[in-house]
Assembly symmetry: C2
Homo-oligomer: 282 residues x 2
């Protein structure tokens, strides 16, 4: 039982953490922290959080578990402020989509003042954002990656893992570098592809938009993701995304080569191979 859970940023993820913690009776008190007091009204009125504040240091003081749920680069800045306010016994985590940056920031801060940080990435976002779309079961069955390092306190890793499991997550541990490379492949690259597809239609044949059916809509659904959140993700994982894009261009080139060559058998084999690969995901 957490005595005090502090959530910094009460949007889709932060709000869902509050609702899930409440639903599963995981915390005695839940504090919602945000820059904009107005945005904290809805979770407070709904009882998702017990109290709210715009004062980060005051909000995280005496919390056992602090979850940074703002955008990824903002989390790195918030971490520095939280670091000097939390108790040495507290555990701090985050929910950002890139992990190298914040884990490195935590390790730098720990040199001056030992505190316990373990990165988390619940893969349960949406193209929609804000507390209005938060829900208690957002993490039910979701993959949650935690990114401990050799410097992590095992008890803190256990606290964070147990918390995610308690809200329904399926937890895997990865080192921060592997995490960032894996999410570049499976999440960031598909977002870039979805934005580029929307842009390609606008560039090549804007008259096609009214003919968009389910295929185009599904393929580009994530192009409606929050621009502020994704600007930080793209900047926070630049290197892996650029490497992933090179592989993507290689894959496009190969398909185009087969089409231009009119290689019927080569195309059929390639599409069959990729169909099988895709169907393994179910």
């Amino acid at each position: 039982m957490i005595q005090r859970l502090a959530i910094v940023g009460v949007g889709l993820l932060g709000g869902s953490i509050a609702l899930a913690a409440r639903a599963h009776g995981l915390a005695r008190e839940i504090v919602g922290i945000g820059r904009d007091r107005g945005r904290l009204d809805a979770p407070l009125r709904a009882g998702a959080v017990d109290r709210v504040t715009t004062d980060l240091a005051a909000g995280v003081r005496d919390a056992d578990l602090v979850v940074l749920a703002a955008n990824v680069l903002a989390n790195e800045e918030l971490l520095a402020t939280a670091w000097s306010a939390v108790a040495p016994s507290a555990v701090v985590t985050d929910v950002g989509s890139t992990k190298r940056g914040i884990v490195a920031a935590a390790e730098r801060l720990a040199l001056a003042a030992p505190r316990r940080f373990v990165g988390s990435h619940p893969m349960a976002g949406s193209e929609k954002s804000g507390y209005a779309v938060a829900r208690a079961n957002l993490f039910q069955g979701a993959i949650v990656i935690v990114t401990p390092t050799d410097a992590s306190d095992p008890a803190a890793v256990k606290t964070v893992t147990t918390f995610w499991e308690a809200v329904g997550g399926r937890v895997s541990a990865l080192d921060p570098d592997s995490h960032d490379r894996i999410v570049a492949a499976i999440s960031h690259l598909p977002h870039v592809a979805a934005w580029a597809l929307v842009d390609a239609v606008a560039r090549f044949e804007p008259a096609a938009f009214p003919f968009a059916a389910r295929g185009f809509k599904d393929t580009t659904r994530i192009a409606a993701a929050d621009p502020a959140m994704w600007t930080e993700i793209l900047l926070g994982n630049r290197e892996a995304i650029v490497a992933g894009l090179a592989a993507f261009r290689g894959a496009l080139d190969e398909l185009e080569r087969l089409v231009v060559a009119g290689d019927r058998r080569g195309i059929a084999e390639e599409l069959a191979r990729l169909k099988t690969q895709r169907e393994r995901l179910a």
Copy 2:
């Protein structure tokens, strides 16, 4: 009321046409035609068609409406056989995803023997195929593009349009060139992107597959489309697909340029613009 409706290829689309025509009482008799007698058993037993044959010429003889629902290049070959078997009063259409090829084939055939052909493209496919996934309401609310030319008989255009409207389609008319360019943008290019995404993950970081969440799955759902069908589509619409790919690469390059430059404002503006564009589709 159609006296005899002949459907060549009783898979997802052909089978759904049979079921929809039956459900709406549009045809007195429905004939299912296919190369493989075994595959015609299911629609016959289900009563979707009244009789079946593997003899194309016999099957289309005396039909008022013939629908070619095999793969796109196969349809072009079947058209030649059907042409010499159908009555001059019959109307022939198809359901293929590319239209320049088959419309040109029909116009060539009409030089020797005038018959009435109007191309159709119901945008109601699926990554699944075969009669097992056919359903009577497949075309309900679906966009159906018909592609008459100056050479088309207005009464035949009306017959085909009325038929698609009767099964729930929202019919638009486009010339074959515009059709092929538009579907290259809104359907063929997204398929190529989906295949390339699956391949990119396999090339760049195959360990990422187990972490695929809803975003990746939606973005690549259509990568499981039928290889035989799509080989013909890619070959049948090569030129427009290659042009669309050039626009797609341009869009990828622009996003990558902003990310590599660390242009926070440029990225945020671009993502906001593309979000707005995507959300217009709803």
